[in-house]
């Protein structure tokens, strides 16, 4: 390589380094679309369908388990318990619980795929709580924090958002079998949560059954998400607002949005 060559290289560099050509307007449009709505989403769909159908089967299976297991769940759940508290004690718990459980089941048919998954998770999760003595206390702050309700619309949207995280689906399924355990402690449990929920704001809970389930749903979702997403800002957060239930936080890594009250 001669100096002449180097000179020529240098010349080309000098003239071309700052050379600019203005691109067509549609280039940015395409870029913007791609980074905010990655095409990769499409590839998750088949996986979601499989996961969803598995979850539907699991939740239906759980639905047919002996009532006792089912009963333990709602007491753990903020809204469900409160709903029953207002009316009565242990007696009707089963029926209202069944109602609660059936609601999600019907939602399955109408709402997005992942919903049953959420329900199942919600149903499953509370069963773990029995293992600690402080659980009523534990559930209480959780309830307070998880005071939310979601309108079916946002529910679907959020579920859609949540479904993009396959990780959320996996922990739920293995938890299925564990629900059998607490069956014995049913009686003890039933009472505790009731007391706990007595202290919480029953005013806000004196709402139509429909809204209650939404509350419970939001609370469920928050709990489920908390179990999976260990970050401070969850992938999605629900909070009760004046207008109703809504999403107040989303954290998808590259995109983070959070409402500050």
């Amino acid at each position: 390589m001669s100096t002449q060559d180097k000179e020529m290289d240098k010349l080309f560099r000098a003239k071309l380094d700052n050379y600019e050509i203005e691109p067509s307007a549609n280039v940015w449009t395409n870029i913007s679309r791609e980074i905010h709505q990655p095409a990769q989403r499409k590839s998750y769909v088949p996986l979601l369908r499989i996961a969803a159908s598995v979850l539907v089967l699991v939740s239906v299976g759980l639905f047919f388990l002996p009532k006792k297991e089912v009963v333990t769940n709602p007491p753990k759940n903020n809204r469900l318990a409160q709903n029953t508290v207002v009316k009565q004690v242990t007696g009707t718990q089963q029926s209202s619980v069944d109602q609660q459980v059936t609601e999600p089941a019907t939602h399955v048919a109408t709402a997005v795929n992942v919903q049953p998954k959420q329900q199942t998770a919600a149903v499953v999760k509370p069963t773990h709580v029995p293992q600690t003595t402080t659980e009523p206390v534990v559930t209480k702050p959780e309830q307070k924090a998880g005071e939310q309700a979601i309108t079916p619309n946002t529910n679907q949207q959020t579920i859609a958002a949540v479904t993009t995280k396959p990780a959320v689906t996996t922990p739920v399924v293995p938890d299925g079998p564990i629900t059998l355990k607490p069956a014995d402690d049913t009686q003890g449990f039933v009472s505790k949560p009731i007391l706990a929920s007595n202290n919480t704001d029953t005013d806000s809970e004196a709402k139509p059954a429909q809204k209650h389930k939404a509350h419970g749903l939001g609370g469920f979702l928050n709990k489920v998400i908390a179990a999976v997403d260990k970050r401070d800002d969850k992938i999605i957060e629900f909070t009760d607002t004046d207008e109703g239930d809504s999403i107040t936080g989303i954290n998808l890594g590259i995109l983070k949005v959070k409402k500050v009250k």
């Binding site: 390589m1 002449q4 060559d5 000179e7 020529m8 290289d9 010349l11 080309f12 560099r13 003239k15 071309l16 380094d17 700052n18 050379y19 600019e20 050509i21 203005e22 691109p23 067509s24 280039v27 940015w28 395409n30 870029i31 913007s32 791609e34 980074i35 905010h36 890594g253 590259i254 995109l255 983070k256």
Partner: protein
């Protein structure tokens, strides 16, 4: 047309806002470098349309990788590297192979006065580069303009170091010839 970003926003701020997903910041960041990067892509593309496709892919990749950018080194250099790699990848995907066509030797001595090219502007030089066969063009771009070594070029282009060297020297002699021709023509008209 030069892009002038709002005075009170620094590039660093645009970068961090873009990382956070701020659409407007992303657009401004794109606008700041798009012109230069399109010029880079033009060197690797066969035409303007292909260059814009390369530009699009390059920026998409850039925004996807933005989370990994920790501020080490020049941001423009970082974007440029992504653009170059993306352009070459695009080219290889859409063209069968890096054709190297040996142009006929004109036969006269190449004691070219490099200063002759001084009179040529960026547009002319760009045209000269685009006239080169893809293989020569790529090596010349990577070596003379991007500053990669022959070893790095061999890795990027999938050729041997020896091939990189010989293609570079061929590219250079062709360019010199073309410059001479251009200068000669210019001179003719100037009379």
């Amino acid at each position: 047309m030069m892009f002038l970003k709002p005075k009170h926003i620094t590039t660093d701020e645009l970068i961090s806002r873009s990382k956070a997903g701020d659409g407007k910041a992303q657009e401004l960041l794109y606008k700041q470098f798009a012109g230069k990067m399109l010029a880079v892509c033009m060197r690797y593309a066969t035409d303007r349309m292909e260059a814009e496709d390369m530009l699009q892919n390059g920026f998409i990749k850039m925004f996807q990788k933005l989370a990994d950018y920790r501020g080490e080194g020049s941001f423009e250099g970082w974007v440029r590297r992504i653009m170059v790699h993306s352009s070459i990848e695009y080219y290889r995907k859409h063209h069968k192979m890096m054709q190297v066509v040996d142009m006929e030797e004109s036969g006269y001595e190449q004691s070219v006065n490099p200063v002759a090219a001084e009179n040529l502007d960026a547009k002319d030089l760009m045209a000269l580069i685009q006239q080169l066969s893809p293989g020569y063009r790529m090596v010349f771009n990577l070596y003379a303009l991007e500053g990669y070594s022959h070893r790095e070029i061999a890795e990027i282009a999938g050729i041997t170091e020896g091939a990189s060297k010989s293609q570079l020297s061929r590219a250079r002699s062709i360019l010199k010839e073309q410059i001479e021709k251009m200068e000669g023509n210019r001179y003719e008209y100037a009379r």
